[in-house]
């Protein structure tokens, strides 16, 4: 089935959820509201002739610098592919800034758990009903979400764990191996 036709059927099935459809480089993406995202994904996965059964990519985007309606501050892009039928499709669920929260896709794809954790960690979108929503790439006591556009590129302080580590290094300095005595303090 053509991706555009999938978009049309999706709009029929979920009236009022589709905000816009855009095509770039022959890839169709549909901008949707976040409320019924899990239902939509499940429908796309299970409906005959669509069967988008492979969740290729789940990615959070911060739209701060390209905010045009209907885009909201954050979005979660689900790139889907049908191994059975060989077509691809993308959903872009909009997430508002005030309440960065969306339902987790784990009931539909177990494998969505880790990409969602990553999204939570780096973009700061939290996923409702996620079995184990923790930071994944960054330390647990990290402040902020680096892939948000306002996240500073240079900070004033080091991450607290790193400062602790530096103290430890200083403590252990006397035991350093330094083969060049001239450089030894």
């Amino acid at each position: 089935m053509e991706p555009m036709a999938i978009g049309k059927r999706l709009a029929e099935e979920f009236p009022g959820e589709i905000l816009d459809t855009c095509v770039h480089a022959a890839q169709v993406s549909v901008i949707v509201r976040r409320q019924r995202i899990v239902e939509m994904l499940a429908w796309l996965k299970r409906t005959d002739k669509i069967r988008l059964n492979h969740l290729m990519c789940l990615c959070g985007v911060d739209n701060r610098d390209r905010m045009q309606p209907p885009l909201q501050r954050f979005e979660v892009a689900y790139s889907l592919y049908s191994i059975t039928h060989g077509h691809e499709f993308r959903l872009r669920a909009q997430v508002p800034e005030e309440d960065p929260r969306i339902d987790s896709a784990t009931p539909v794809w177990k494998g969505a758990a880790w990409p969602e954790r990553e999204c939570y960690d780096l973009v700061g979108i939290s996923f409702a009903n996620h079995p184990d929503l923790r930071r994944i790439l960054l330390p647990d006591d990290w402040q902020g979400h680096p892939l948000r556009k306002e996240y500073p590129l240079k900070g004033h302080d080091e991450w607290s764990g790193f400062t602790d580590l530096l103290h430890k290094v200083e403590e252990l300095r006397p035991f350093d191996f330094n083969p060049n005595p001239a450089l030894r303090k």
Binding site: N178, P179, N180, L183
Partner: protein
């Protein structure tokens, strides 16, 4: 295509451990084959032309200095931002005040030598430059020129004929290259002499 498995071993093969004996025969054969080890410091390892190693600024035989014109292309293209050039303008040309490369930041992508319009910069084939501290890896212009001298001496480079493949990328049409980069090169580096597959005509 489903992968094929080798047939299951039968009782006799199980008792005689044939597959294990075959494996042992193989290791025994290899015991008497020539080792592939190269005794590195004693034995010189051939390094391919165009290996991206230690940085150097080409020494201009006439002036004894660098040929850099401070166009800043290398500093712009550098993904790790390890090149820093200071210059001042002097009678419609730029004079380089300092040219620094921080080798510990460098990722050795070779973009800088590829974009340099006058072939002033090169990543040499020297890969042996270790030190006990960080300072020696901050190359100033003098260090970089000295690196070139070391390169010329160690690898017996002829300044006249040496062409780094990144100065004049193989297969790059001459039209896309600035004049200084259109160097004479072996025939299979050019578009005319490029390698073409034997079965190409049959397509």
């Amino acid at each position: 295509m489903f992968v094929k498995y080798k047939p299951k071993r039968n009782l006799l093969q199980t008792i005689l451990h044939t597959e294990i004996l075959q494996g042992m025969a193989l290791t025994m054969r290899r015991l008497f084959s020539r080792p592939i080890t190269r005794q590195y410091p004693d034995e010189e390892i051939p390094v391919a032309l165009g290996f991206r190693g230690q940085h150097a600024l080409v020494r201009d035989p006439e002036t004894g200095g660098s040929t850099c014109v401070a166009c800043m292309r290398c500093a712009t293209v550098c993904p790790s931002r390890c090149i820093r050039i200071r210059f001042h303008d002097e009678e419609s040309r730029r004079v380089v005040d300092s040219y620094d490369i921080e080798a510990l930041r460098c990722v050795y992508c070779g973009y800088c030598e590829e974009v340099c319009p006058v072939n002033a910069l090169v990543l040499t084939e020297i890969f042996e430059y270790a030190a006990y501290s960080r300072d020696p890896f901050h190359f100033t212009r003098e260090d970089l020129l000295a690196n070139w001298d070391r390169f010329v001496e160690e690898r017996h480079i002829d300044r006249e004929t040496y062409v780094n493949p990144f100065w004049r990328p193989r297969g790059m049409p001459e039209g896309r290259l600035p004049a200084a980069k259109r160097l004479p090169v072996p025939s299979d580096w050019t578009l005319e002499g490029q390698v073409v597959g034997a079965g190409y005509d049959q397509q």
